[in-house]
Subunit: 338 residues, 4 copies
């Protein structure tokens, strides 16, 4: 059994913790957290051992009546791998701690590429991460783009990808963030960081991205314009390639799915934890090829798409499981649609 | 086993169907629906028998590759009780059909009080519904208010209740409805229909309500101002009464719950189907008594709060189960927090 | 001519500055600001002299190519009255500066009542402010409530006012603030501060308020429930009283006004600066009297309702103009609807 | 004096009417409308003669106490040109009426290209419209794109333009439309109709567009990706070309403009009617050239950008004024920023 700890219990941490708990070959040793809020309360109800982020956090948990496993250092002493799901840039501060503890680490996409030895998406570069100490599961947008572009590149060779990303402005549990009734260019400059970030996973893809924030709380909406090298590609072949691509979901207007709200409602129907959707959703009817240029819309569930990659990364750094085997276990445990 | 059919498979119907399927004493015979959309697709995956709303619907399902149990008439021939979860005012049109089929019916709160013999909230008037043919499970707002006001009235005798309701403007699966960046008075007139609707359940409560729509998709937010007959009531006693009241949830700022978005995120953590919350959520810190007037905020999850009442109403109309027994079975099967 | 300076040029400051510039008996000496943004640019185009909030601000303006009148201290040396429209709580820090300069000051409602000698709404307590050095023009919600409750109290004697306020969560020029798809209780506790704030203007009114934030950028929506002392009051008499009350607007469903968005669109049609609405808007059809309790909906344009009070307060502190005369000049210059 | 009537008094009609009233060479004979709402009320206050859309409308206005000029037929008998600003597809129904009356007509972009002899944007094809009877002022998005692409094509020759459009989902005066917290693909298919619509004005531009609706009420946000034929173009040259292009506004992060909300607030500061912005706003810092591909963000105020084109189209159909002269008069009367 792989002994896993999860440091940070926000949007990503709690999902990864639940996914770890479902793996037949992993044991969730505990989770580390700063505050005794409702997320802690339900973690405790699930039987997760709670560790405080530091001594003060431990005190806070004890005052609130929790039994605590110690600080994050105590957690590190008991695990093979830690998943760092702390807020952006905190992972960097934690790295020395992890190094001292001698544990392997999965960082998240909020950290810079340089923090790790590999920026990871399972289907693209699993083997590169084998045996490494520091691996970075890339951000939600990068994960979605990497899965899709890798699949298309394998099938048709991508010459050039141009992507416009309408980003959800806040997560459902962060109701102080806006905008309301505005599009925020944040930053105003072009290109956005997403293109170079995809290249940390797929270095050979020519990709340029533009991004802005809109008043929604779920799903980033990507508009893709890809020039293909291969001639004679048509919509049907693209649909086939994407259908066969791992961890990608095709949705259709015919199913009544005409909005990101419908995709999320569909995900809730699936009965997964929290109504999550681990697959990027691509609209079949939006797929269009004009003179060798491929167009389509894709929606990415920002809260959950990186969960399978975190799980695979845990196996990868330990080096004992093959890519095919790991992805199969992960997919089965999470009831992936692929 | 009580044989149950569900006619209509939108926001309420699919939730009631899943809840029926979980009852130890009920069998979900099938569900009736108009279109082969993603909701139908997942119903089929769950093994639910699908019936078409009419002949055309049956044809549509067959064309889309579904196996169909027949029309809604065929469904009615096989059930003891049908839950009518059709859109507002369609229940009225269906009533003659149900009468001919000789089935018992649970209507929803979108229908008028007059459609049924009893407007039903389990804890308030279960026994009145015993053996009746037509019962109406009241709307989400009425259900939330009835549970809370009944509990408070039992404890402290309510002299007068005044309530302002900020209504969510659309459900998550209806993304064409607004407003965006506006409060809609719909209608402009005061009082709103909610007060009289509560009185269909609790005829002796003096209640007047005002209501408007705001740009949200989940939870109605109620501001309650209740004058109590009993003297000397303080916040602690109110908290105790509500804690002990059935099917009511107290939430707290201390848990980090400071917005309806937090309540919904908490509900997702609970791991119930679709992240539903069957209990109205009342903020502990908002409870305040000033000179015999009680104030507090309550949030109602419009998609799911009526699910337990539908289940209890099914048992009530058949007359064989006591209120206490039925509520206990329902609560256990739905993992209610009470 | 009254020499006026405006310190702070955000939502309120720029509106007050324009209003000052329109008064026949006032001269806008200049405005003080921190940054050379688009607001500064248009102020310069209007010919307003710009002062920097401090030396660094002056440098910033010069670098950006502005001609600058000096720092705020230089502004103070040239004025009789300064309107402090700095962000919440900055007014308090500025007070010593103003005292040293020996100028009279109009603070805004973001400051505490204690900062000034009078919390001011023209029609309620103009004379109290006469000759004072420090006066506070109260916040938008307090201004709207004070005008309306004062008018109703004069006509019918208010025994008790209960108000629920759905607050716009951010101003149109602050697009980083949320919530999106949530109601924020901020704070969760009841009553809100608005009731006591109204009592700084109308000390004899028994008022208790509840408040929350909703995802809109314009207009607070008030739901009022007022118990009247006078007997036999009916809707018609209330409509008459409010029609005759100063600086109050009655709107009607018959005009097609059924939402706060319609009120704002109506205001844009009026052709005032920035589409502002200086009057609280009360829906005629929402006015309802039941057993001596009066109900209605009122919308308050948070950006502009305090502008007339600031202008009147300037005249009041100088002591030379009567209430009636000042309000008449202000109303005429701003094309008020009353 | 050109005698002008405006049929339809919604978002576009009332703006065009006000603009007509400001032209030194035009007389607004009257406006036709269906209902006596607040827009009618303020039109009457401005002294506009109101005509009913039909006999019933006339009756409605009279009942509401308006003096009425007759029906739209009576209006047509008194004008040289009518601007049809009726809802989408109603213009088509009106065409026969206009033909019989022998008046020249300016249709709006909601109508099909085929309704008119020319789809019009002043700077692109003014002369084509000279003397024609039926001209169509194209939609807001098409107007913004045509102005910008025409300017860039003149300067650098556009090889290919790809545009993603995040559309505001509803106008500020239509608060029943959504979505709330969703992106609506409406329709799901790609490309959107905007590309072909631009080609009705600029037939030689290779343009493909993708579009979706987001929860905002003001400004469409365009992401442009243009391949240029001319070599060696850099950001500075693009900025210069756009600065010199007619009726285009460059905005900057340095002015504090980082969101569409800021653009709209800037427009309100300008002091124009209703806070309108007749120019598409392009962010300077977003302009980027990479390997001959030009990227930038542009925002289009959907309510007002077509106003100048309507005015110029009126002069064009009468044939007596040159393009340069007409645009100059229009620009001056509307205080355009160019």
């Amino acid at each position: 059994m792989i002994r896993v700890g999860v440091n940070g219990f926000g949007v990503i941490g709690r999902r990864v913790a639940d996914a770890v708990a479902k793996q037949p070959d992993m044991k969730l040793v505990g989770i580390a957290k700063t505050r005794p809020d409702y997320k802690a309360q339900i973690a405790a109800q699930k039987g997760y051992t709670i560790f405080g982020s530091d001594d003060e956090a431990v005190k806070g948990f004890k005052t609130a009546g929790y039994s605590v496993g110690g600080t994050v250092k105590d957690l590190l002493a008991q695990v093979d791998v830690v998943v760092d799901a702390c807020p952006e840039d905190v992972g960097k501060e934690n790295k020395e701690l992890y190094r001292k503890a001698g544990v392997k680490v999965i960082f998240q996409g909020g950290e810079d590429h340089e923090i790790a030895q590999v920026s990871f998406v399972a289907q693209c570069n699993y083997d590169l991460a084998k045996g490494k100490q520091f691996v970075r599961a890339v951000s939600c947008n990068t994960t979605g783009l990497s899965r899709t572009l890798h699949t298309l590149d394998q099938a048709f060779q991508i010459k050039r990808a141009r992507v416009v990303i309408a980003r959800r402005a806040s997560d459902p549990d962060e109701p102080t963030k806006g905008p309301i009734d505005s599009v925020n260019l944040d930053p105003v400059t072009v290109p956005s960081h997403h293109g170079p970030d995809v290249q940390t996973v797929l270095p050979n893809i020519d990709i340029i991205t533009m991004a802005y924030k809109i008043p929604t709380t779920h799903m980033h909406l990507h508009s893709l314009i890809c020039t293909l090298k291969q001639n004679g590609v048509n919509e049907e072949r693209v649909i086939n390639a994407l259908s066969e691509g791992p961890r990608i979901l095709l949705v259709s207007q015919k199913q009544g799915i005409k909005a990101t709200a419908h995709v999320m409602d569909y995900a809730r129907e699936l009965g997964r934890n929290r109504g999550d959707l681990y697959e990027p959703a691509i609209w079949k009817e939006s797929i269009k090829v004009v003179d060798g240029e491929l167009y389509f819309f894709m929606a990415v569930h920002q809260e959950s798409i990186v969960v399978p990659e975190n799980i695979d990364a845990i196996r990868a750094v330990l080096g004992a499981t093959s890519k095919t085997e790991s992805m199969a276990i992960t997919d089965r445990s999470l009831a992936m649609l692929t």
